[in-house]
Amino acid sequence: MSPFLFFLLAVPLVVFSLGVVLARSPVRSALSLVVALFLLAVMFFLLDARMIAALQVIVYAGAIMVLFLFVIMLLNLQQEPVETARPGQRTIAGVFSLVFLFFMGAIALRGLPVMPGPGVETAVTPSFGSVEALAERLFTRHALAFEVTSVLLLVAIVGAVVLARKIQR
């Protein structure tokens, strides 16, 4: 991916991510997140993770965020009063975030060149990122994780139904 394309995606990505955090109305916040997720999907696509990009849109944008919007609408939250932060909470949060950003950013920018590997710059083999390559890994090497996933989903669905069901009085 050329630097131009990278910034073309990265700048709006950061802007919309900030939108998630800063937007007053929860609906706008949710929609910022949808746009950010979509931009991430485009980025995945350009990084040869085409299947992941499609799944990102299907699962995140098409399912999870719909659920978020449903809950926001269901609870009729748009007239929520202005949130009250405790005194000093914002300052402390900001300071901690900056420190975190500084150290992790330094690691990301300075600590990586020692990593082995050919780097993102080089071309990849044509099969990289193909569905077959992904499926081959998923269903052989990570077969156990895949099976355990089904249990996770089962637990999630049972838990969600129990929690969301009307309480019989």
Binding site: V27, R28, F38, A54, L55, A61, F70
Partner: protein, 363 residues
């Protein structure tokens, strides 16, 4: 690099032109078709000099101009940005989704090989599903950003319906993918090119009849048309989620409907009816099993295939129009019952049976 971009742009333009025209034509077909079924004349002012056939041209040109010059009323107390955004996020994914379906084989122009598919991705099927799953936002936002309880009801109903039938649609698609072993549309179409015993085209409908029904029904439910038109139920909630829309934004919601019809037709055609394939037409021309043959130049073959694709798509569009005007509407509980308790188990059963048969056949 530049040629690649240019070729992509031309192909995308072709597809956009195709889908815009199809939407316009379908608007006319729907009016005239419904009139035919209900024994009316229908759209009687859409004729030029008394010739009703010219009404089509009239609809294609006059309707957009009229919509463009209408006032765009935004109700009071709504989020104006979201109100404007809703039709955009409704139309955009629909048109992009249509672009991923191939409309012809490879075209050789000198050294250049042009794959007649506007968006050439190897995960085309997933790409299409991703785009159609975004369609739900137009519905939700349109309903929410209207400050109208009828709109909101329509929006919530519509989105719940769309996500319910998305599952059945997904299972139908998986069965097809299982049969062909590929997520690439072109690959799927090519696999349908040969003849069984030299006579019967090996179209997907022969292998996956149940998946065809699942996909068609779920597709119609996704387009929110009768018999699944509860989100827009005219008799109870006016126009559903686009009650408060007017002018071009209304047209965009309206067009989304027709583009979605076109997508369903295109997908059904590609998965089950050979896409751009014509029986007995090879890359050199027609070769019939009873011995005749007709040699054709490459360009003619490709153009014939493109025409075949368009005809097939149009036939299925007309089928959907016919379904809309001949079926009674479902109740909401029936709709949900059908989606979750009939389509979903059927899709799962179809999938398992398909897998078993494949294992048995291929050893």
């Amino acid at each position: 690099m530049l040629t690649l971009i240019l070729i992509s742009a031309v192909k995308a333009l072709i597809v956009v032109a195709m889908v815009l025209n199809l939407a316009g034509i379908l608007g006319w077909v729907e009016r005239k078709g419904s009139a035919l079924i209900q024994d009316r004349i229908g759209a009687n002012r859409a004729a030029i000099f008394g010739f009703a056939g010219a009404g089509l041209v009239n609809t294609l040109l006059a309707d957009p101009i009229k919509f463009l010059t209408k006032e765009d009323v935004i109700p009071r107390g709504v989020d104006r940005l979201l109100h404007t955004l809703a039709p955009c996020v409704s139309l955009f994914p629909a048109m992009v989704a249509f672009a991923v379906v191939p409309f012809g084989d490879r075209l050789h122009v000198g050294e250049l090989v042009v794959n007649l598919q506007a968006i050439e991705v190897d995960v085309g099927v997933l790409f299409l599903l991703a785009m159609t799953s975004l369609g739900v936002y137009g519905v939700v936002l349109g309903g929410w950003a209207s400050n109208n309880r009828l709109s909101l009801l329509g929006g919530i109903r519509g989105s719940a319906q769309m996500i319910s039938y998305e599952l059945a649609m997904g299972l139908g698609v998986v069965a097809v993918v299982l049969t062909y072993g590929s997520l690439d549309f072109q690959e799927i179409v090519r696999r349908q090119g040969h003849m069984i015993g030299g006579w019967i085209p090996s179209w997907g409908i022969l292998y996956q009849p149940l998946a065809f029904l699942l996909l068609l029904i779920a597709g119609i439910a996704e387009t929110k048309r009768a018999p699944f038109d509860l989100p827009e139920g005219e008799s109870e909630i006016v126009s559903g989620y686009f009650t408060e829309y007017s002018g071009i934004k209304y047209l965009m919601f309206f067009m989304t409907d027709f583009v979605e019809i076109a997508i369903v037709s295109a997908v059904v055609t590609t998965f089950f009816f050979g896409g751009w394939q014509i029986p007995f037409l090879g890359s050199q021309g027609f070769v019939f099993p009873w011995g005749w043959s007709l040699a054709l130049p490459h360009v003619v073959v490709v153009l014939l295939q493109v025409a075949a694709y368009m005809v097939k798509v149009f036939v299925f569009c007309c089928l959907q129009v016919l379904v809309r005007w001949s079926m009674p509407r479902l109740r909401y509980d029936q709709l949900m019952w059908f989606g979750w308790k009939v389509m979903l188990p059927l899709g799962l059963a179809n999938l398992v049976v398909t897998a078993l048969v494949l294992l048995w056949v291929r050893g």
